[in-house]
């Protein structure tokens, strides 16, 4: 009897929900219509390819297609750690990306604090304009410049020769490749990374500085006890969000700078996936490595968002 009543209640609830939806739609149909094109694009170009990730569990052959290829379970994933190359690519990725993340956090904060001490507005504006610029250049352009500057007849080697040293083929030295990648990435991004900190600094209440000055605090103490704590929430947000990038070492950059000479230190997961699948034709293995990477990436990003929300109240939308 009781269950009968419950069932009746759920049925009624379902009916009212349906009516609600109809009402909602009658009122808000233009809104649904406006989202529709984006939904279609997201399904076709984002969600359908995700279905193709099934390949990672198959021995995919192009002529058999995704529904005809043999299912091999986790075999492809087991191989990731067996091949010396893929293992090395994971190590390289971690070293490069963690260095990039740490420097990409510390340097912009320091630069923003230093720039804040420049009181001539015109000069400040000029410096800002110049340091933001590299962010907008493509890695192809930057790679073109780097290859020229660091080439055997480039400006850097010209300096070395003038100092009586032997010229160095920088882009062919495996031992220097990571440092080169990390530094050129820093060059390209540090200015742009400053923006959020400069904005945070300008939001700090000016009365705090006046009060501190009354109390006899010098500039250094003001920076340490007012500015830095003032931008700390922003630093925390940026730090946690960068967690999602631990497996992104920068495909665009490395693909345009590396060569077989520097594979040992410079090959990262993304470039390895590219070579394995599109050059060597191992589609399933390449996809498995890619899925391994994006799976961990998803997990890390989820954790990052949770932490950013918990520590700084940051929400994506």
């Amino acid at each position: 009897m009781k269950t009968e009543k419950n069932r009746e209640r759920t049925k009624r609830a379902a009916r009212t929900a349906r009516v609600d939806w109809r009402k909602e739609f009658q009122h808000n149909w233009p809104l649904y219509l406006l989202v529709l094109p984006s939904v279609i694009f997201a399904i076709i170009f984002c969600y359908i390819p995700m279905g193709g990730l099934m390949m990672a569990f198959q021995n995919y052959k192009p002529w058999l297609g995704i529904f005809g290829s043999e299912f091999v379970g986790l075999e492809n994933f087991r191989q990731i750690f067996e091949f010396k190359e893929s293992y090395q690519a994971i190590i390289n990725t971690l070293i490069i990306s963690v260095s990039k993340i740490v420097l990409g956090l510390v340097v912009p904060v320091i630069m923003a604090l230093l720039l804040n001490e420049v009181k001539q507005l015109g000069l400040k504006k000029c410096i800002q304009t110049l340091v933001y610029l590299p962010h907008f250049l493509s890695w192809v352009t930057v790679a073109g410049m780097l290859r020229d500057i660091l080439g055997m007849d480039g400006i850097v080697n010209a300096c070395l020769k003038a100092l009586g040293m032997e010229p160095i083929f920088f882009l062919g030295e495996a031992g220097m490749f990571r440092q080169l990648v990390i530094l050129s990435d820093l060059w390209k991004g540090f200015g742009f990374g400053m923006i959020v900190y400069l904005a945070a600094i300008s939001n700090i209440d000016q009365n705090l500085y006046e009060a501190a000055e009354m109390d006899g605090a010098n500039k250094w103490q003001q920076t340490l006890y007012i500015t830095l704590p003032g931008i700390m929430p922003m630093i925390i947000v940026m730090a946690t969000l960068s967690l999602g990038n631990v497996l992104n070492a920068g495909f665009d950059q490395i693909f345009n700078l590396y060569s077989p000479l520097t594979y040992s230190t410079g090959d990262i997961i993304d470039t390895y996936v590219y070579r394995q699948s599109l050059v060597n034709g191992q589609y399933s293995f390449g996809t498995a490595v890619g899925l391994f990477k994006s799976g961990i990436g998803l997990l890390l990003t989820a954790v990052a968002y949770k932490l950013a929300y918990k520590f700084a109240g940051y929400r994506i939308f």
């Binding site: 989202v35 000069l123 110049l130 480039g154």
Partner: protein, 289 residues
């Protein structure tokens, strides 16, 4: 309070010098590239050129603009950037406006979009789907797959949310439809925000080089970014089309420098407009209080 100590003065001088050096460090590689592109063969090849051209000549630029493949890729780049930006802006303004309202299913839709930002099919599945859609060797591959971007959608949505609700409510009570509200109130009021995002999308489209390499079997159909990638990185000199007479007068290096510089030029030209707005845009989009 106006007296400044000696140590403070020293700090200010050192700090300013340091920051100016860093700023110049961001500009000088481009200046070097430009100087090389305007220099004579022997000076460029010996590495004597620093920041001012030696044996000034425009030959590298003349030669570049006589290269039909270069012109073709330049046109493709302009077309894809134009079309791609228009389509992207259409998608994200419509969806961004809708999602700036509260309606049933909004949260679920938001997660549906945000998930595309967090996870993806990866290289091969995406390649196979796009090929199955007939996008291989098709110009539309430059426009369609990259048109929707959740990141830009959120940026636009936040711009729309900062517009006072009362404006819209008044219009709706007067009988205006959502479409009219979007066209007559939201679009005009968020011009600066839309311009920022559009410029960002333009720069992204112009700089994108991988699609061409991946989907085009004929290098003739490459946009400029892919064309440059082949020349600069893969060191393919066929496309430089140096005939013996001009090879005597200029070097591969000056031509490369000229082409890379032309590739970066549109970015340098829109940069002043971009810079006017993007600081605000970044802060609003990335850091919602």
């Amino acid at each position: 309070m106006r007296r400044t100590s000696v140590s403070r003065k020293i700090f200010v001088i050192c700090n300013t010098t340091f920051l100016i050096t860093m700023a110049l460090l961001c500009l000088l590689p481009l200046v070097n590239l430009f100087a090389i592109s305007l220099s004579g063969k022997s000076a460029a090849n010996s590495g004597a050129v620093t920041f001012w051209p030696i044996d000034f000549t425009l030959l590298a630029y003349e030669k570049t603009f006589q290269n039909n493949n270069f012109i073709r890729s330049l046109v493709i780049s302009f077309l894809r950037t134009g079309l791609g930006t228009v389509l992207s802006m259409f998608l994200i303004t419509t969806a961004g406006y809708a999602l700036s309202k509260d309606f049933r299913g909004r949260t679920q839709l938001m997660w549906f979009f945000v998930f595309t930002m967090l996870f993806g099919g990866g290289l091969i599945p995406t390649y196979l789907v796009n090929s199955a859609l007939g996008l291989k060797n098709n110009f539309l591959v430059y426009v369609l797959p990259g048109a929707f971007s959740c990141y830009n959608l959120i940026l636009i949505m936040n711009f729309f949310r900062s517009i006072p609700k009362s404006l819209e409510e008044a219009a709706l009570i007067d009988g205006a439809s959502f479409f009219t509200v979007l066209r007559k109130i939201y679009l005009p009021l968020s011009k600066a925000g839309l311009a920022t995002v559009a410029l960002f999308i333009m720069v992204g489209n112009w700089n994108e080089w991988f699609t061409g390499i991946l989907y085009m079997s004929d290098t003739k159909n490459y946009p400029l970014a892919s064309f440059l990638q082949v020349i600069v990185v893969q060191g393919n000199q066929q496309d430089l089309s140096l005939d013996p007479t001009s090879a005597a007068a200029m070097s591969e290096r000056t031509i490369k420098a000229a082409q890379v510089f032309i590739g970066a030029l549109p970015i340098l030209l829109v940069y002043p407009f971009l810079q006017k707005y993007f600081v605000k845009g970044i802060v609003m989009g990335a850091v919602k209080e």
